[in-house]
């Protein structure tokens, strides 16, 4: 029963939404709209699950004094602080807005910016033309890197056009192939889930 009931729910709702897509009868459309509204409501609860999960994981880390457990205290403190600031002062103006604008944005941007330094180090150590395929990839990468920025246009006015050609022809052809393959896989996986063949999302195994 633990697996049968979820399978019935998945089969019923999944196929109903598919049928509603192909049959434009009002009864199907209305029901589909209702299911979609339920879904967005359920999704909103995921935020609470995420918060509970982060609290549980970090409290466990502090209790067991695992490596870098001190950072978990800071994380939990600011989680509570930001939530409190949001609930008390609201999303606009006040402490929440100030912290978001002056702490979260610069910190997030800093973390992302660090990638530039690691990419530079990787470019030096790993971007090596060891095979003909790697050489081709490397040449394309260098053209795109230079042609994508104003200095490429400054060096040679044809660079941006060459980059657009690489993006529009070889890149698009390869991407289309990958997308078709991935989407066929997605359709077959969706059918396997709907028909109850694929059950790993419930914890795996047979009943």
């Amino acid at each position: 029963m633990k697996q049968t009931i979820p399978l019935i729910i998945v089969f019923t709702f999944g196929f109903f939404v598919i049928i509603a897509f192909f049959i434009p009868l009002r009864v199907f459309q209305d029901a589909s709209q209702t299911f979609e509204t339920w879904y967005t409501g359920v999704i909103a609860f995921f935020v609470f699950i995420g918060i509970f999960n982060i609290i549980k994981v970090n409290v466990n880390k502090i209790q067991r004094k695992l490596s870098d457990w001190q950072y978990s205290i800071i994380l939990l403190f600011f989680l509570a602080f930001m939530m409190g600031a949001g609930f008390i002062g609201g999303p606009e103006g006040g402490v929440f807005d100030y912290l978001f604008e002056h702490m979260q944005i610069p910190l997030g941007a800093t973390m992302f910016s660090l990638l530039a330094f690691f990419v530079a180090s990787a470019a030096f150590r790993a971007f090596r033309a060891r095979t003909p395929e790697a050489t081709l990839l490397l040449i394309a990468a260098v053209i795109v890197m230079i042609g994508r920025v104003p200095i490429g246009y400054y060096i040679w006015k044809g660079f941006p056009n060459l980059v657009e050609w690489i993006m529009s022809v070889p890149n698009t052809a390869a991407k289309r192939g990958i997308l078709f393959g991935a989407d066929l896989g997605l359709i077959s996986m969706a059918l396997r889930v709907l028909l109850g063949i694929e059950r790993s999302y419930m914890g795996g195994g047979r009943e």
């Binding site: 967005t40 999303p91 978001f100 330094f117 530079a120 971007f127 490397l138 230079i146 200095i151 997308l179």
Partner: protein
């Protein structure tokens, strides 16, 4: 040839230091490199130019502070163009922090054009649910959107009442840093309801959008900070993106130099063997 052996084992902090210099120096001493306009950016600009006054444009801020440096300049340049053309902006976000970031641009640009909240622009905040939410939203906005981001009932605003379904939307601009984002707008909104989609993405995502550009499912693309710089140039409001182009140019050049040196070392090692 101990030089190459020593070069290969170079301390990565020296590489970091050189990258730091390549970023900082052009910011202090700008080179003023010319910004060329690419086709996909020009297409977005032209489409906005064609829209009649009062058209409703959904601006979906599907990014977070990590991508702020790349996508906020694009948000600002696009909003500048919309307000200049007297278009109405309906802001939302598929990422929790997106509408908050978009609001910073809205609040700084809208007053300069004398725009009124609720009449000329509105922010309905974060909308969870990804693809399913977009399908539902396109069919009936009023079913999902009951209040703006500050909790004020949506019916109390003229612009809130004007948008009932995807038919009322003239263009969607998604500023996208990943999933959910531009792909979901194409598949679950544009494909179903026929609404035109334009996008501004992080540079790393830009190549993935070309199949949709060539198929016409995307009307245009602002790729990374360069795309934002092009748009700033087109709307003649040069700001953060254009200012960052010199740094990005020098860093890219430095990366190419690193790649060349790395491959010279490889050649030397092959010959020695």
């Amino acid at each position: 040839m101990k030089f190459f052996d020593r070069l290969e084992k170079i301390d990565r902090r020296i590489i970091f230091f050189l990258v730091g210099l390549a970023v900082i120096i052009p910011l202090i001493i700008p080179l003023g490199l010319p910004v060329d306009i690419t086709g996909p950016v020009q297409d977005v600009f032209d489409r906005v130019e064609e829209l009649p006054e009062g058209s409703i444009v959904v601006v979906s801020c599907d990014y977070d502070p990590g991508s702020e440096a790349e996508l906020s300049p694009a948000t600002a340049a696009f909003l500048e163009h919309c307000f200049r053309k007297n278009l109405r902006v309906y802001m939302m976000g598929l990422w929790p922090a997106g509408p908050e970031l978009g609001n910073l641009a809205l609040e700084s640009i809208a007053p300069t054009y004398g725009k009124v909240y609720g009449v000329d622009y509105i922010n309905i905040g974060y909308r969870p649910g990804g693809p399913v939410m977009l399908v539902s939203l396109g069919r009936d906005f009023t079913d999902l959107v009951r209040a703006d981001y500050a909790g004020v009932p949506i019916d109390s605003f003229p612009l809130g009442r004007a948008v009932k379904s995807a038919r009322d939307i003239d263009l969607v601009m998604t500023l996208s840093a990943g999933d959910p984002g531009v792909l979901h707008w194409i598949i679950y909104f544009s494909a179903r309801y026929g609404t035109e989609i334009a996008t501004a993405t992080t540079a790393i995502m830009a190549p993935q959008q070309y199949p949709y550009l060539s198929s016409g499912q995307l009307i245009g693309l602002l790729g990374g900070l360069k795309g934002a710089a092009e748009y700033e140039t087109l709307v003649d409001k040069k700001a953060r993106a254009v200012a960052g182009m010199d740094s990005q140019s020098i860093v890219h050049l430095l990366l190419v130099v690193f790649i060349v040196i790395g491959n010279i070392i490889l050649l030397y090692q092959k010959r020695r063997k």
